[in-house]
């Protein structure tokens, strides 16, 4: 369970959100919606420990997360808007780099796990492709596989449908729902309301639910 208590953030005196309280149960989806520029990405970055919070607490399964740049570990998996895949590595290498280097797993552990993720995300054929050789949807799924390989407690997406066509958007919906079936806790930041509706998760509307 992800618990966010009294989370506050401002930029140069401009309040982005204040005393935000949210909980997301295991295997649930929280969609974070609202117009552009309202603070959704900032919220995701604070959750991921990339941007410092001014106040508040975040805990994942009763275990508190640091809310500044000293955060270590990979408890919050992030699918960035432009994916941030490592261009010099293949799909397989992108997925296995952190398990190998950060988690220091043996090849016997990370290899079969990566093959399984590749199969699940329909990337087996692209296993040895470099990011520049992938379509938008394939990049997206590689980013998901890369995050899942570190078994994060929560998976957070920033605008996962931006730049994707309708067919690919439907594939994203399918993937997110499949992961939900497997018990993955997910937070989906999006300004795409029809897409958010399809996920039928709890909704946090930054336009109306957030104090500023």
């Amino acid at each position: 369970m992800l618990t966010i208590k009294n989370l506050s953030k401002q930029y140069n005196g401009k309040v982005i959100f204040k005393d935000l309280n949210v909980t997301v149960a295991d295997g649930q989806i929280l969609t974070v919606v609202g117009p552009s520029g309202i603070g959704k990405t900032t919220f995701l970055r604070v959750l991921a420990g990339l941007t410092k919070a001014d106040a508040g607490e975040i805990s994942l399964n009763q275990h508190p997360l640091l809310l500044n740049e000293n955060r270590t570990g990979a408890e919050v998996g992030v699918i960035f808007q432009d994916f941030n895949l490592f261009p010099q590595y293949t799909v397989f290498e992108n997925i296995t780099l952190a398990p190998r280097i950060v988690a220091r797993q043996h090849r016997r552990v990370y290899q079969p796990q990566a093959e399984e993720l590749l199969a699940q995300l329909h990337l087996t054929e692209q296993r040895d492709f470099y990011p520049f050789q992938l379509s938008g949807g394939q990049k997206q799924r590689t980013a998901i596989a890369r995050a899942l390989a570190m078994q994060p407690g929560v998976l957070a997406y920033d605008e996962p449908t931006s730049g994707l066509d309708e067919t690919t958007t439907q594939q994203v919906v399918t993937v997110i729902k499949q992961l939900q079936q497997q018990g993955v806790t997910q937070i989906v930041v999006t300004h795409d309301r029809p897409f958010a509706d399809q996920l039928s998760g709890a909704v946090l509307d930054f336009g109306t639910d957030v104090v500023r």
């Binding site: 420990g49 990339l50 955060r71 570990g73 895949l85 780099l97 952190a98």
Partner: protein
Amino acid sequence: MHYLITILPSLLAGLKMTLGVFALTLIGSLPFGILVAVLQRSPVALLRGVLNGYITIMRGTPLLLQIVFVYYGLSLANLVTLPRFEAAVVTFILNYTAYFAEIFRGGLQAIPSGQIAGAKVLGFNRWQTLWYVTLPQVVKTVMPSVGNEVINLVKDTSLVYVIGLGDLMRAGNIAVARDVTLVPYLAVGALYLLLTILLTVLMRYVEKRLNYYQ
């Protein structure tokens, strides 16, 4: 032709010295250049200031002066007396580290911040991020500039003649003065040219190998 063969052994001995200074300078200054570029991003302002000062001095004064200063100057000031070869190599490493640091600093700055964020959320620490994520991308982008400096270095090694080190240039000088002919200079020029052409081909090959991704 016969004359060329008679001077060839001394020219080759000089070439060996030139290659020695060249190779040791590269081996020293490339890693130090990367290190200085990384440390220039340190949060410690004093460290950044010291490194900036060092780079400014190294790039702002002639290499020839630096060589003379390290060899004669330090010894006159009763600080240390380095043998010729060591003095030359130390000076070249100090000088080229500054140039390589500038190149790598630019390369590091050009890495999109998303790459670092991407590594961070996967749990990579700073050094792991540098080694596995950013540095390989920097190496690719700076390779053409590094290649330029490598070619410059070949030619710059001829400056060691001022402290009497027996490099290729000095071997040529000696033969010219002794035999009163310009042929040794032509031979020396041909050898430098051969060296830079070989290195250019090698650098092109490395660049091509690094171009496997975009």
